[in-house]
């Protein structure tokens, strides 16, 4: 057997270190999700019973059936052992398995989050680069001013303003939802952009695109601002390095210097920021989904909080946590690939 290439060992160690961190993080999430919701005042049985209340005998019976009469640590133990067997439980309200509900709703959130991050990258990277190259120009001040405003914008307000402007005033985009209600698209992948292409109604695809525009802008605004600012400052730092001066002295074209030499190095912190923005995106999705009636997991979790639907909250938080952890792991790995100094660090 041939010996592995010289860089594999440190890379493997790097991956293993990162993966081993997942276990305590995972346990931490189960602990937080389990205990935090129990700190919120309110009784899930009362909420289940609705406005009309419930008689004490039936209340006690239901507490027993759901296992809420057990000591809290025992409840946590039972919950954890079920989770480890892959059982996240059933929603107390709908009686559907948590995993089924998550699987049905998550593609909508992913579709929106992907569009938002693409939107942020497509506009944020060039804006940051140009702002750095044309430092202190009107463009630079403009981009920085706008990005600061974008970063500070309350999502709820921003969403409603865009609806009023683009949907109600100019009639350019639909108000909310994922697709025009007149299209009946059977979910295949759950990603509407794909499902509409697979359907025999080509106009449905355009309807899905039109519905994505405003939520994408709203959800993508904060990451866009962060990416633009981060790219600018990273570029500024790199552009001041000696090797850039050398490249300039060698008479390389400005495009080659920026695109090949500066950008690649400037991307390292930017990639980290993009990874961190995934968590921000899911937080933002909760509000964005509520404003735009977007049937994703954000709205689902909010409802679960209001309804004290413990299994949904615990399961949903855990699954989202796993997704964020996985994305960050991928970012860490990508980081390692971009920057050899990291994978060689012991």
């Amino acid at each position: 057997m041939a010996a592995p290439p010289f860089y594999v060992q440190p890379m493997l160690r790097f991956i293993l270190t990162r993966v081993s961190l997942i276990i305590p993080t995972f346990l931490g999430i189960t602990l937080l999700a389990f205990f935090l919701i129990r700190l919120v005042p309110g009784d899930p049985i009362e909420t289940l019973a609705g406005e009309r209340g419930i008689d004490p005998a039936r209340h006690e019976q239901l507490r027993k059936e759901y296992g809420f009469d057990q000591p809290i640590l025992v409840q946590y133990g039972i919950y954890l052992s079920r989770v480890l067997q892959g059982d996240l439980g059933k929603s107390m309200i709908t009686q559907e398995p948590v995993i089924t509900e998550f699987a049905a709703l998550f593609p909508a959130t992913i579709e929106l989050a992907l569009c938002a991050i693409l939107f942020a990258l497509i506009l944020g990277l060039p804006a940051g680069i140009i702002a750095a190259i044309k430092r202190n120009s009107i463009f630079d001040h403009g981009v920085m001013g706008i990005s600061l405003a974008g970063y500070s914008m309350p999502i709820f307000w921003w969403g409603l303003i865009l609806i009023l402007l683009f949907s109600v005033q100019f009639d350019l985009t639909p108000v909310s939802g994922r697709i025009d209600v007149l299209y009946y698209i059977e979910p295949i992948t759950g990603f509407l952009l794909i499902d509409t292409l697979l359907s025999d109604e080509p106009e449905a695809f355009w309807s899905a695109v039109r519905h994505l525009i405003l939520p994408t802008i709203v959800l993508g605004t904060v990451p866009l601002a962060v990416i633009a600012r981060m790219t600018r400052s990273a570029m500024l730092e790199v552009l001041g390095e000696d090797y850039i001066r050398t490249a300039k002295a060698k008479g390389l074209s400005r495009f080659r210097i920026v695109a090949l030499h500066a950008l690649r190095n400037a991307l390292i912190p930017v990639v980290t920021v993009i990874g961190l923005q995934i968590g921000v995106l899911f937080t933002g999705a909760i509000l964005t989904e509520t404003i735009f009636s977007w049937p994703g997991v954000g709205k689902w979790l909010i409802d679960a909080i209001f309804r004290r639907d413990y299994p949904v909250l615990q399961g949903g938080a855990l699954l989202l946590g796993v997704v964020v952890m996985s994305v960050n792991l991928l970012v860490d790995l990508a980081y390692g690939l971009i920057n050899p100094r990291i994978r060689h660090t012991r």
Partner: protein, 533 residues
């Protein structure tokens, strides 16, 4: 803004590809997702609305009113003593079908018996399916009231009660008694998926369910074989839109035709929109402040009266309901039969209130708590604001009221346990019968129960005798007299400061024809038509 415009411009070709409008599709911008499609365990209007289109009951409320009319039962007879009800079922009533189930028979007595037994008998295999908490069935006192429910033959059902109950028919018209297919239930039980009957419902109603995507859409189609004739619209869509401002934006643009629960701040703009009309109806509800009548100082009627006179009801209603409420003087709303208009409300008179309070032994005023609900309800759009206004009024007669609030579930539980001195609450009627307000909210049985709705804990024998007698009297004229008298006693004894009856406002696009507001706040689309542009 430049970026957004650019982004929009890229997508211009998309705008050109608008979808063709299907004929007669009515879109309702509903406020949330239903919990399931089994009204027997539901308590929210959102869930009831989703099921309302699918199911029928033995008897139903007429569209837009509270009158009980035949539905699955064509006619019925009541025994002279008021305890035996014999229902003759309509023949030829077809069930919907779906991918899991094709019915082999029409609706019959087995289905009716199943509806009762599922909620009543713990050994019924469906008792615990979806939820064992059959709230309304229990709240309406069915477990104690029902003696037997028997199938006489395929088209006859006999229900025997333990005692006469005047509102029984009205209770049967409520959503909890929606009839599901026993044949479907048996098939799903055999397949090991009993919960399917509540998730992929089969009913006899005017619309059948085509698709439900949580938090997105509920899609129905008119059932061509509906026993009362096919609906005028072909497709009914619930576009789930939780935010009131977004619902309004969609209504304006014609993306939906009817919307519930408008934001009061949008009402002005709605009134100006030429494409929209606002339907109005006095709601079947009441918002009130209950005094804990078993605790000092509110065990003294003079203190309660003094408080009633100290608070400026009109100012409170004007400030908080913004034109969508009318001051309440009785515990039942004016649109309900037996409403006693001759009752005179306590006049706003802080001087007289102060005097009365001194007479009751509190010349220097007193200290009390004042609970404000943490949530918005149709009968109370802003409990905190109301509490502040009440607090300011009470301060004028030397009363120091401390405003308190709790998480909503906790609030209800504590109020039902009588932990408060003064607490705001309200009620929306279930069945259009005065018993549902006067007995449920103010009767002794409810005061003595830990989960009863009488949070004033007011048990006043002369009043209780009247409403208990009215409950078992079948003659409506007699009942009216009893309830009118009960309202007089209520006013004299003042267990509540009645605040307001909220008016139901429903923005509807003008192309919608014959949409009728339901006094119960339901949204029924059978009988509604739409003018295609």
């Amino acid at each position: 803004m430049k970026k957004s415009a650019l982004f929009a411009a890229i997508c211009v070709p998309a705008f050109l590809a608008a979808a063709p409008l299907a004929a007669k599709t009515l879109v309702y911008c509903s406020e949330g997702s239903p919990e399931n499609f089994y009204p027997g365990v539901n308590t929210t209007g959102t869930s009831f609305d989703a099921s309302e289109q699918i199911y029928n009951r033995l008897v139903e409320f007429e569209r837009g009113g509270t009158k009980v009319v035949p539905s699955l039962a064509e006619k019925w007879e009541v025994s002279a003593d008021g305890t035996v009800y014999t229902f003759t079922l309509r023949k030829g009533v077809k069930w919907h079908s779906n991918k899991n189930f094709k019915p082999t028979r029409d609706m019959n007595a087995d289905d009716i018996v199943f509806m009762f037994e599922r909620q009543w008998k713990e050994d019924n295999p469906f008792f615990k399916v979806t939820s064992p908490n059959h709230s309304y069935f229990n709240d309406m006192g069915m477990p104690k009231l029902l003696k037997s429910v028997e199938k006489v033959n395929d088209s006859t059902v006999r229900i025997t009660l333990n005692q006469p109950e005047a509102p029984f028919l009205a209770n049967l018209a409520m959503m909890w008694s929606s009839v599901q297919s026993k044949e479907y239930a048996d098939a799903m039980l055999k397949a090991g998926t009993p919960e399917k009957i509540d998730q992929e419902p089969i009913g006899t109603g005017p619309f059948y369910l085509v698709q439900y995507q949580k938090d997105a859409i509920i899609r129905y189609k008119a059932f061509p074989e509906y026993w009362a004739g096919k609906a005028k619209i072909d497709d009914l869509v619930f576009s789930i839109t939780p935010d009131a401002s977004v619902r309004w934006a969609k209504l304006q643009k014609g993306e939906c035709h009817v919307m519930p629960y408008p934001n009061p701040a949008d009402l002005e703009a709605m009134k100006k929109d030429p494409n929209v009309q606002i339907l109005e109806q006095a709601g079947l509800n009441v918002g009130y402040l209950a005094y804990q009548t078993t605790k000092k100082p509110f065990d003294d009627v003079r203190v309660r009266k003094a408080f009633n006179m100290a608070m400026n009801k009109k100012a409170i209603v004007d400030a908080v309901f913004l034109g969508s409420g009318i001051p309440a003087k009785n515990p039942i709303p004016p649109s309900m039969w037996s409403y006693n208009d001759s009752v005179k409300d306590d006049e706003y008179n802080p001087e007289a209130a102060k005097k009365l309070l001194a007479e009751a032994g509190y010349p220097n005023g007193l200290e009390t708590d004042l609970w404000a609900m943490p949530v918005q309800r149709p009968y109370n759009p802003n409990a905190r604001r109301i509490a502040e206004l009440m607090q300011a009024d009470l301060a004028k007669i030397g009363v120091k009221a401390e405003i308190k609030s709790f998480e909503w579930g906790e609030y209800r539980k504590r109020a039902q346990a009588g932990e408060h001195q003064m607490a705001q609450l309200g009620w929306t009627g279930d069945n259009g019968d005065p018993d549902n307000f006067l007995h449920t909210l103010l009767g002794c049985a409810s005061a003595q129960s830990a989960s009863g709705s009488n949070i004033a804990k007011w048990c006043h024998k002369p009043f209780d005798d009247l409403v208990t007698k009215a409950k078992v009297t079948t003659n409506q004229a007699e009942r009216t007299k009893l309830y009118e008298e009960a309202q007089k006693i209520f006013k004299e004894q003042a267990p509540w400061f009645t605040v307001a009856h909220a008016v139901q406002l429903k923005p509807v696009r003008k192309e919608v024809v014959d949409f009728k507001l339901s006094p119960f706040g339901r949204h029924t689309f059978y009988g509604v038509d739409i003018n295609s542009k």
